[in-house]
Amino acid sequence: MRPAAIIGTGQTDHGRCRDDVSQPELIREAANRALADADISPADVDAVVLANMEMFEGRALPELWVGEGAFANRKPCLKVATGGTSGTSSCIAGFHQAASGLFDVVLVIGFEKHSEGHTQTGMALTDPFWDRGVASGALGNFALSISQYMAERGVTREQAARVAVKSRRNAAMNPHAHLKDANATIEDVMSSRVLAHPVRLMDMCPQSDGAAAIVIASAEHAAKLCSRPAWIKAAATRHEQPYIGDIDRRLLTMRTLRDAAQSVYARTGIREPLKQLDVAEIYEPVTYAELAWYEVLGFCAEGEAGRLIEDGITEMGGELPVNPSGGVLCANPVGATGVIRVAEAAAQILRRAGAHQIDGARTALATGYGVYAWADALILGSTP
């Protein structure tokens, strides 16, 4: 595998409804910030990769209209759409393109404007012969998985609430986050409105408008353009069988994420993730999922996730800070969400994470989650 690195990142200020800008204008906001961060001009960009779930905004081939917001006019431009993993998969696509020798600099941009459509409805346009008639979008699917997770591993509502509190507190240090609250309490979470038992409002990720971008350069250009690039050390994608009922105990086993993580760990010599990773930006669509992913990602043994959050291991000052940005629970523009994970992980290595910088971060994990069980995992590092 030929190396490539991230040399700049940029995000919009994510929010519930960014109706001050059109889709192309929203994308331009993130693109400008990423190019400024990388200290390059639009002319330096050789190719663009876009990520978006077009049915959420009622579009077909959205890159045709929004491409020029991403400086894609008269350049090579492709769009990746794989549900929640659209963002992380587009980063991996940009990585492969930059490493292919075809392009020196690739701009990857993910975006979503949930306020323009109906996301849960769009997600429910599943197999018309099977579950379209009984689909309830992401929320119902997560809630179903959680009942299994709670029954088998004994994880509690309070432990899940701790994840929401951590997330909102971290987000308070992140200027781009949609939901932030430095003073959120466990009681706030546990008394928030029930959306789908046992998921309460503050357990669930929001639907945000936003865009996020990263600039990936081939090895030669990365070294030239950036004094301390965030090298993409390994990346893996795993997809699953198509139906929600195909996958046994999804939240518990999540064999795709487990396998993707094991693959990138193996390629980067990581045997003890909790010790060897300095920071993780994981795609946790709901509080309970963050706990389940701790186990799947090997941060702890099965059934130990509750202890990890209770002991503060994954807090900002803990042994492995998880989602210093506030994570998906605090900003979720779906097509951008995976890009945000990679951008935040890269910003940690680039030492540009601002108030939520983890001191001395040298090795970072970013993950993506999509549809029922798709997964991406990437390891970023300070050396090639």
């Binding site: 001050d20 800008v21 059109s22 204008e25 905004e57 009622g58 400086f71 018309p128 012969f129």
Partner: protein
Amino acid sequence: MMREESIRIPFRFAAGRAGSRMLAALRDDKQILGSHCPVCVRTLAPARPFCPECGGENLKTVELGSGAVLVSWTDMPGRGLFALVRPDGADTAMIHKLLGQSGDFHIGARLRAVFAAERRGHIADLQGFEPDPGSAA
């Protein structure tokens, strides 16, 4: 086995900074707006946030004329006439509707904008373009 299934989902697209200016001017002033790019020295129709040539964002909003030149058109039976028209003062053409019969038009013909009586800040506030009777056919 075949089964027909339908969907009904509402969407709402933000026109954004440039688009909102454009649609508000159609509604309030029966005015078509363009954007002038000082780098490319070109006026683009309709108004937009970025220059498609240089990518620049420092565009100046300009008022275009309600007269226009027909650049191209097509006749879609049952659906009407669609056109590329270049409003006076612009260097590029925009897509809109033509009002009239196919035989009324030829490339290069002078047109004038027709506005709806009731306007709501929508591209259809401009109903389309019709032949300009003030110019020789």
